[in-house]
Every structure is written in structure tokens, then in C-alpha cells.
Symmetry: C2
Subunit: 146 residues, 2 copies
């Protein structure tokens, strides 16, 4: 019996380490990513409006592009909840196409910033950062004040 | 008189566009940057703990390094308030040295991830992300629960 348990424990210890993400972890993780997009876009917006000097403008573009590239993966586990509507998974083809397009456009913006300068890239920013179009369809509406 | 006003307006219009950041803008802007560090470090931590698969791990490291490179600039305007203690500016040499070290260590972590792989880079993460050491000195303490 002891030998059987030892063999079982050994077998268990040799299983590959599998990441198991419980539902709340999945929701928290994608929140972290979407929050990054929110605050980095806000920071970029403050520069675009002239409220803040533009020293970091290219870095913000890079960060947005990098973060956009991580976002779809965070929604792949079909875990409803948080701010995500069920439509995310019910219309996965559309959702993922839009997310990929978002990643591509922000990557182009970032590339433009490095190759042609920030002014050229800023012209693409308005076109790349169309957050609202997806949020209207796929994000739970926030209550609009009292 | 009309001609003088016209000349004055013309002269004004030829001044370089200077970004003026009022105090709340400065505080909001640095909050966006520190919030990015917070949520991206949380996301990386979720991966390190095994709660979330590691598909995005290198991207998180890149984003943290990029964001760290923007942080010091956001504190350069001496605007007290938000979560920043007055010590940030009273001890600017120490604060900026620590911020620069943070940027360097996270840049090294990101470089390692690309050149030697994520496992090597994760070994550096604990050493690079020592947020608490600075927060203890330079960030206003949050009230600890009810």
C-alpha cells in the first residue's frame, strides 16, 4: 500500500505543471489589461490635448500597441463576468477580428512613431484608438450617475 | 490701434505652442503611469503564481520596462498632491536615482526575456520589481481597512 502511494505521488509530481486559472483570476487578469489600455490612452490623450508635454508620447504608443497585442488572449477563456458582455463569446469571430484589427492598427501607429516620427503617428492615433466602437457592443454599460 | 492689435495677434500666433499642464493634469498623468505599473505588475504576478498561463509574459515585461522609462518624467514638475509625498521633491536626488535604477532593472529584465528567454527573465523580475521599497518612503500610506 505504502509503495502504491509513493508511486502515485511520484507520478503526480512528474505531471507537467499546468496553470489553472479560476474564474475570478481570468476576470482580474483581463481587467488589468483593459485598465492598462484605459490609463495609457488617457495619458496619450492628455498629451494630444496639450495638457502634458509630449516627452513620453512614443513610449505611450508602444505601450498601447504592446498591451493591445496581449488583450485577445486574455478573453480566450470563456468566463463571463466583470465588464464583459456574453456577446464577447457569442460573437467571438467578430470580437476577435476587432481585437486583432485594434492590435494591428496600434502596432502600425507605434511603427510609424519610430520610423516617421510622433507627428505622423499622432495622425493615426485617432483612427487606431476607437475604443468606444467595441465597448458599445461588448462591454457592460456603466450606470450613468445618480 | 487696429494695426497694433493685428500685429500683436500675429506675434502671439507665431509663438511656439507651449504645453501648459495645470496641477491636476500633472497629478492625473503620473497616476496613469503608476496605475499602469500596478496593473501590469499584478498581471505578471498572476502568471508567476501560475494563476494565468504565461502566453503574454514577455509582453508584460516589455510594457513594465517601457512604462518605467516614462515614470520619472511624470514627476519632474514639482506638483505635490495625489499619492506622492513631499519627500519626492525634497529628496529628488534619491528619488530620481531610484526611479532610474528601476527603469534600468526592468529594461534588463525585458532584454533578458528577448535574448535568453522568459525563464531567465523571471529570475530577474523579483529583483527588478521592488515597488514597496520606494512606496514606503515616497507614497502616501493608504488607510489600512476599517
Amino acid at each position: 500500500m505504502k509503495r502504491m502511494i509513493a508511486a502515485l505521488l511520484l507520478a503526480l509530481s512528474m505531471l507537467p505543471a499546468v496553470s489553472t486559472a479560476d474564474d475570478q483570476d481570468v476576470i482580474d487578469y483581463r481587467r488589468h489589461i483593459m485598465e492598462t489600455l484605459k490609463v495609457q490612452t488617457a495619458a496619450l490623450g492628455m498629451i494630444m490635448s496639450g495638457a502634458i508635454p509630449d516627452d513620453n508620447v512614443v513610449a505611450h504608443m508602444d505601450i498601447i500597441a504592446q498591451t493591445a497585442s496581449t488583450a485577445l488572449k486574455a478573453f480566450e477563456p470563456k468566463v463571463e463576468g466583470g465588464d464583459a458582455k456574453a456577446e464577447v463569446w457569442a460573437q467571438w469571430d467578430d470580437f476577435s477580428a476587432r481585437m486583432n484589427e485594434f492590435a494591428e492598427r496600434t502596432a502600425t501607429m507605434s511603427k510609424t512613431a519610430h520610423e516617421k516620427g510622433k507627428d505622423e503617428a499622432l495622425l493615426q492615433a485617432m483612427d487606431a484608438l476607437t475604443c468606444k466602437q467595441c465597448h458599445d457592443v461588448y462591454r457592460v454599460k456603466k450606470p450613468t450617475g445618480p
